[in-house]
Amino acid sequence: MTAAATPQAPGPVRPAGDAPGPARTAWGRWWFGPVPRARIAWLRVIGYVFLPFDMLLLTSSSLAHARLPADLYQPVLLGRLLHLPAPTPWAMYALLTVTVAAGLVAATGRVLPRASGYLAACGYLWWVTISMSYGKVDHDHLALVVALFVLPSVGRAGIGDTRRCEASAWSVRCVQLGVVAAYFLSAWAKVRIGGFPAWPNGSTVQWALSRRGTPFGRGLIDYPVMLKASQWIMFLAEALSPALLFLRGRPLYALVLFFAGFHAVTYALMTIHFLPHAIWLAAFLPLERLTPLLPERLRGGTRAAAPAAAPAEPAA
């Protein structure tokens, strides 16, 4: 988020020839261990296609809120700092249009990738801040907001761009951090607010199922021991989620699958999907491997990959 507040344009990406040597410190390797630019292109497609879906269906309350009188508007701190006015229907329609359009431009990764991306990021942050300013704050948007602010920093990237680069690595890491932070800090909040072991031993899942359980979920209401076990599993999984940041290969993919399964089950039981968060589990996967599965003409890769070979030759 603060990434966008940095007005300075990201440094130009230089070929290896004239750059300082590869990152030697653990810190450098962890943040900047090169990642193919194609992964950024895929993450952009996921994020920017999701954006209209989110704005029209999930946080569409911004539009409904705009029809309420201003005295029900209780802006959160960010809204007060930026002096965001109470929404009006036309302002919200304009914001929706600009944000979605900027996102679709940014999704191509070709035309003004930074300007369009940061515009979509700011537009969406405004939108979601309005959505959270009526007495209820959801926390499933952290990874989405982070992703929108870090993905533009890479600049141009196509899904066929196999060049590995450090700028992409940083962006992917930030998205991953957003995902893990949402899990880990949820466990932290449970300790701070609900208490430990009061939270896992309590009846919060019972509370959620009673209030908004699906027929399937309500079927579990009479099994308190199972509900308690599920709370322990949830709490431990959230507390141990930072492992996602350090595992590699199959163990990592297995853990990603576990969390995806957790979201699927939560949806089946109480129609809470956490999609704005869950889609970013994709940031842990080697998405660039999807490109060869596409028909040749959709890859757009040859064009992007060709310049990669050029600087490599003098360096060799």
Binding site: A19, A64, V76, G135, V145, C165, W170, G202, T204, A312
Partner: protein
């Protein structure tokens, strides 16, 4: 073999490192000392509260209304129905209780969102309280917390 990776210059690396560390730091700080007001930062409070399995209660609020057509309806739980979600009604409950006139805004919003439906004449904020014993619901109680005659 892979082509050599594209590297970042020291300044590009520096602002990225600092931005990353700053956001992570801010997330930890707000998780430790902050409140929901700090959105989009922490604390991640959704479902973080604890409900006692023995003697704990599950409370929920929703809106019901009398209409000009003489019917009594439950208003939809989502923002598209009334302009306010159930959790938002709950989040603003202390304000609504102090100042029931806020419900007038909901009637007005409803009229703008659904001009085709019969006008609301009286709005009720209904609370349901379920009591738990050994993790199971043993009793349910319902009452009107706030009633507002629409003007």
């Amino acid at each position: 073999m892979h082509p050599p990776a594209l590297r970042l210059g020291p300044r590009a690396r520096l602002w990225r490192s600092l931005a990353g560390a700053a956001v992570v730091g801010a997330l930890f700080y707000t998780s430790a000392y902050g409140s929901n007001d700090d959105f989009p930062l922490g604390p991640m409070t959704q479902f973080a509260f604890s409900v006692k399995g023995d003697g704990g209660t599950i409370s929920s609020y929703w809106l019901e209304a009398d209409t000009a057509a003489g019917t009594h309806v439950a208003l939809s739980f989502d923002a598209v129905g009334t302009g306010m979600k159930r959790a938002e009604i709950e989040g603003q409950m202390p304000r609504i209780r102090r100042n029931p006139a806020l419900l007038q805004g909901i009637a007005d919003g409803q009229r703008r969102l659904h001009p085709d439906r019969p006008r609301l004449t009286r709005i009720y904020v209904v609370q349901e309280i379920k009591t738990l014993k050994r993790g199971k619901v043993v009793s349910t109680m319902r009452q009107n917390r706030v009633v507002w005659d629409v003007k």
